[in-house]
């Protein structure tokens, strides 16, 4: 398995990258960390004559703390995300997703933009981005647009991104007080694992009454894309946070919010059962943080 030949471009600005992309149209592919793209090229799952690297474009690899949100550049690596103080402090579910991805070597290269564009149902950062209600920031020759992450995934490997668009980064609104979030991935071994099921939950509570003010649950590997669990979320809204509510929500997520399939990594039945367990556990852990 040798890497096929292609022409390699390293533009230093978004504008130049857009021009190059337009010039080669669908014949060109963007390269971030390359941990998906190069594997696909070697395995001949993808073929291309032109590879346009995004690595030299300034700003794409940065994390910026704004007043009400956190900007994470598309080319930020898992290692950089995991290390960042703001992520550690306010977005621990995302840190945990980044920490769980592949191996050290992969985490030093793999980017969050690549993980999202790869749109694997099992992607490790996707549930956290979903529950933090992230927006994908996109640019094209026609201008910019924001895509709520919820609407970004269209199928395994398929996204809302158009051929001439570049993903520049993500905006994650700062979580309010009395909120918490947690991510769990479940696989056969303890690391370097492709998830059998993964899930994240986010909730905000009223510290006095203890009822749930907002909640988001995201599930991976149990549908063609990572998904939110709308029915389970609806069942929780306004209720008193606690084991009873979480158990009930877990049961709804398990029975109504997911549509897993059998494959060589696991059966649909097991995946469905684990949706229940992970929903409950992520909610409970998020709740612990919210009341801490």
């Amino acid at each position: 398995m040798l890497l096929p030949k292609f022409e390699f471009h390293e533009p230093e600005s978004i504008e130049k990258a857009l021009v190059l992309k337009k010039q080669f149209n669908s014949g060109a592919r963007f390269l971030a960390g390359g941990t998906d793209l190069l594997v696909y090229l070697k395995k001949k799952i993808v073929s291309t004559d032109h590879v346009i690297s995004l690595q030299r474009i300034e700003g794409l690899g940065e994390i910026r703390e704004n007043e009400s949100d956190l900007f994470i550049g598309a080319c930020t690596t898992m290692a950089a995300i995991s290390r960042h103080p703001a992520v550690q402090k306010r977005f621990c579910a995302l840190k945990s997703g980044a920490d769980n991805m592949g191996t050290h070597l992969i985490r030093n290269r793999a980017t969050i933009g690549g993980n999202v564009c790869n749109a694997s149902p099992a992607g490790d950062t996707l549930p956290a981005l979903l529950v933090y209600d992230a927006a994908a920031l996109v640019i094209s020759p026609d201008g910019k647009r924001d895509i709520p992450l919820r609407d970004f995934f269209k199928g395994p490997g398929k996204t809302d991104l158009k051929n001439d668009e570049i993903l520049t980064g993500f905006r994650l609104p700062n979580p309010p007080d009395h909120s918490g979030a947690h991510y769990i991935q479940l696989g056969k071994r303890k690391s370097a694992e492709i998830n059998v099921v993964n899930a994240a939950s986010f909730l905000t509570i009223d510290p006095g009454a203890g009822n749930i003010l907002s909640v988001r649950i995201a599930l991976g590997s149990v549908a063609p894309t990572p998904i939110r669990a709308p029915e389970a979320e609806a069942a929780l809204m306004g209720n008193t946070a606690g084991d009873d509510a979480f158990n009930a929500a877990a049961e709804i997520a398990r029975s109504r919010d997911c549509s897993p399939i059998d494959d060589f990594r696991g059966s649909a039945a097991y995946r469905r059962a684990m949706v229940g367990v992970l929903t409950k556990r992520t909610l409970a852990a998020a709740f612990d943080q919210a009341r801490a």
Binding site: R189, S191, A192, E193, V196, F264, Y270, V277
Partner: protein
């Protein structure tokens, strides 16, 4: 106790500096002038007739130097054991698995070679294929080999004692099954080789192999060459685990391409091809019945096993025998029967892997020991102590334990794990379990029938004196054998390790059967010791003549000559030595005569001092059919305790701790012994927990990379406490015997027994994926609910 200066220490390995700095040369580091690159055409079908092969387009491609198929390669059959040669280098009329070799190309670059391979046109007529043992033995199933009707590759039927009677006289009889999955060795270095054919007609194959000797013989046989014109050598090798213990078709094709092009040719497997080629551990399906008395005495064992063999025999004949014979111990057991069947099907062939044939049988049987213990209310550790063999015992199938530290091992893990405090007192979801095992220290016989020595070694002293050169054809594949033999030579000769240089892995250096069946430490070790002692004697003989002291009154230790009683006046010798070194600043001035002076004098008197050593086991074992498989000059044994946590909601298992004791006779290098123990445990955990080669319904491997074939990561590896037990094996050099494979035996059953202790479930199929364990827990809950 004898005291030693070199062995028994934690000497640094002699290959560490080169490996740590990237200087160590592996096959892929080698490039030769004018070298071509080879590539294989492998079958995309699991079972098909080859109607025609058209290589014209491939040959036309610029840069292509040779294209060969069965037409050029001939149809010489080869394999592992001469009793069952069932392979040809290239498929002759049909292909039998996805990956079966059809043709090979040599070209000026790998790109061109691969391009050429894609231009070879093969017309196939697809045949129905079978992928499981069950389907392969059905009436009317597609047949793989005309000579072996019913796809039965081999069957074994043995009975020792009287099993029916033994079971009748038992108070408790337990029958269980155990199913495992096909493994991959997952060695770090994919197979690779370079063949060169010189102007005088000598073929040199440099290969990533465990067995230069067997590869040499196979190459000579298949290419129709004199063995003397074939030289096989190995550079550093990134492990093998049994998979590299025979010649592979790429090595043979590479030799043919070199012969045809008269240029060096290099070939490599990709990781995908490693999986396609297979030859690792079989998939086993055991049914075992064990009978015991109420007091725990084991009475009888009835064993049936079906082995999923794949398309060819490879090591399979040995495997199917080992699977039965290595249940004979480490317990006293008078009655044992075995019915083993190895079945062909359209998947890559399976072969030998660490713990050859015996690992899953033990996983089944050692669980039954725990079940028996539970039934009679006995501590499973006590049950094992009650039944265990002792030094000098012989199993019902004639395996003789000349040294056997089984009792010491069990006591060591009992104390090391705090067993007595923990067993029966683990909190919910946590469990503790144990198991034992034993393994050969080398096979009693070579793979082909022969009176050959199993190992020969040459030790030569450099003419300047002071350095010993050790030449052995044995195979350092990462396990540390070079270091072990350098240490043995240094010890036997009486000089420091730094004064020994060693070269290995080259058939020009002698005969050595290679690195398999845990044989080298004992066998090559013996030959090394004998060669070093021979050299030592020659030096002392010369000294004896010069100093008029009997040889028995002298010794060499730490590089100095020691005299029994008064030191004679050796000033004449020293003067003679120093005279030759006028102007040198480091002439000896010690009170003692140095080895360097002595060996220089020996050279001046006798010429080059060379000693040879050899080893062949004494005649071993029983007279029954198959007795040769399982007999060994010595057996290592071990006990392990595993502690686990089971997540009762997800089925995930965490292995918290493993305590391992192994009797290796005598640790030549303590650190290497521990390394083998830990390595065995990591491989055992992988097989127990997540390793399995998965196929689609066309016979293609789905997980042919190390992302999806899940070996143990550092995060999965528990804390391991290793305890080395030394029983001083009479048949071993300095008392040493195996550790490389025996240490894997108890790992899987210890984990299974711990899982039962933690979760109340017995799982009869591997690996213990969260999903499988989850379902077992669900069933258990339903069962207990129903009965409540």
């Amino acid at each position: 106790m004898k005291s030693y200066d070199v062995i028994s220490t934690r000497a640094n390995r002699i290959d560490t500096p080169d490996k740590a700095t990237g200087k160590a040369v592996f096959v892929d580091d080698i490039t030769l002038p004018g070298m071509l690159y080879g590539a294989l055409l492998q079958s995309p079908h699991a079972h098909a007739k080859i109607l025609s092969i058209d290589t014209t387009e491939a040959e036309k491609l610029p840069g292509v130097k040779a294209v060969i198929t069965a037409k050029e390669a001939g149809q010489v059959k080869y394999g592992v054991s001469p009793a069952r040669y069932d392979e040809t280098v290239f498929a002759v009329d049909k292909v039998r698995y996805v990956g079966d070799e059809i043709a090979a190309v040599a070209a000026t670059s790998l790109d061109v070679a691969l391009d050429a391979v894609s231009r070879i046109k093969v017309t196939y007529e697809e045949l129905p294929a079978v992928f499981t043992v069950e389907d392969a033995v059905k009436d009317g199933a597609p047949q793989l080999h005309d000579e072996f009707k019913g796809n039965l590759c081999a069957e074994v039927h043995q009975e020792f004692g009287n099993v029916a009677e033994g079971l009748e006289n038992s108070d408790i009889v337990i029958t269980t099954e155990m199913k495992s999955k096909r493994q991959d060795g997952a060695f770090i270095e994919m197979q690779g080789c370079i063949a060169e054919y010189d102007n005088r007609g000598v073929l040199t194959l440099t290969s990533s192999t465990q067995v230069p000797h067997y590869v040499q013989r196979t190459v000579a046989m298949v290419l129709g060459m004199d063995v003397g014109k074939v030289r096989v050598k190995k550079p550093y090798v990134g492990a093998g685990f049994g998979i590299k213990a025979a010649a592979n078709p790429m090595e043979l094709a590479c030799c043919m391409l070199a012969k045809k092009t008269k240029k060096p040719v290099k070939m490599n497997f990709t990781r995908e091809q490693v999986f396609m080629y297979g030859r690792a551990r079989h998939r086993f399906h055991h049914t075992i019945t064990t009978g015991a008395k109420k007091d725990g005495t084991l009475m009888a064992l009835k064993h049936e096993c079906w082995l999923d063999g794949g398309a060819y025999t490879s090591f399979g004949i040995a495997t199917v025998y080992y699977t039965g014979s290595l249940l004979g111990g480490p317990y006293k057991l008078a009655n044992m029967s075995y019915d083993g069947y190895r079945v062909y099907n359209n998947k890559p062939a399976c072969g030998a892997q660490r713990g050859h044939g015996a690992v899953i049988a033990r996983a089944c049987f050692e669980q039954q020991l725990d079940m028996i213990a539970e039934k009679i209310g006995m501590d499973p550790l006590e049950l094992r102590i009650k039944n265990m063999m002792e030094t000098g015992d012989t199993t019902c199938n004639d395996l003789n334990m000349r040294s056997f530290g089984m009792a010491e091992c069990i006591e060591a893990v009992r104390n090391g794990s705090d067993w007595d405090k923990k067993k029966g007192h683990m909190p919910p979801g946590k469990g503790i379990g144990m198991a034992c095992g034993f393994f050969v220290s080398g096979a009693g016989y070579p793979i082909y029938r022969s009176d050959t020595f199993h190992g020969t070694v040459i030790v030569k002293l450099t003419e300047d004196g002071g350095t010993a050169l050790v030449y052995t054809a044995s195979a350092e594949i990462g396990q540390g054998s070079d270091t072990a033999f350098a240490m043995i030579a240094a010890e036997a000769l009486g000089i420091p390790l730094e004064n020994v240089r060693l070269a290995s892995g080259d058939t020009d250096m002698g005969v050595d059967l290679g690195a398999y069946s845990s044989r080298q430490t004992l066998m090559t070790g013996h030959a090394t010791k004998e060669a070093a002692e021979n050299v030592r004697r020659q030096v002392l003989e010369v000294l004896s003549e010069q100093l008029n002291v009997p040889v028995e009154k002298m010794d060499i230790r730490n590089g100095f000559i020691e005299f029994d009683g008064d030191t004679p006046d050796f000033s004449a010798l020293r003067t003679r030595y120093i005279k030759e070194h006028r102007g040198w600043t480091d002439n000896p001035d010690s009170d003692k005569l140095t080895f360097k002076e002595a060996s220089r004098i020996a050279f001046l008197e006798r010429g080059s001092i060379v000693g040879t050593g050899k080893y062949k086991p004494h005649s071993l074992g029983g007279k029954f059919k198959g007795a040769a498989v399982g007999t060994s000059p010595a057996y290592g044994c071990s006990a392990q305790v595993a502690e686990v946590t089971v997540d009762m909601d997800t089925g995930q298992i965490t292995i918290d701790r493993i305590t391992d004791a192994h009797d290796c006779g005598k640790a030549i290098n303590m650190t290497s012994v521990e390394g083998q123990m830990e390595g065995s445990i990591s491989m055992g955990i992988g097989e127990a927990m997540h390793e399995e080669v998965i196929f689609d319904n066309q016979g293609r491997v789905l997980n042919h990379d190390l992302a999806e074939y899940k070996i143990v990561t550092s995060m999965d590896m528990p804390r391991v406490k290793t305890i080395v037990v030394e029983s001083d094996e009479p048949n071993g050099p300095f008392g040493a015997k195996e550790v490389g494979e025996g240490a894997i035996m108890p790992t899987i059953p210890a984990i299974l027994n711990a899982v039962y202790d933690a979760a109340g479930v017995r799982v009869y199929e591997l690996p213990l994926t969260p999903e499988r364990v989850f379902h077992a827990i669900q069933e258990y809950r339903e069962r207990t609910r129903a009965s409540a």
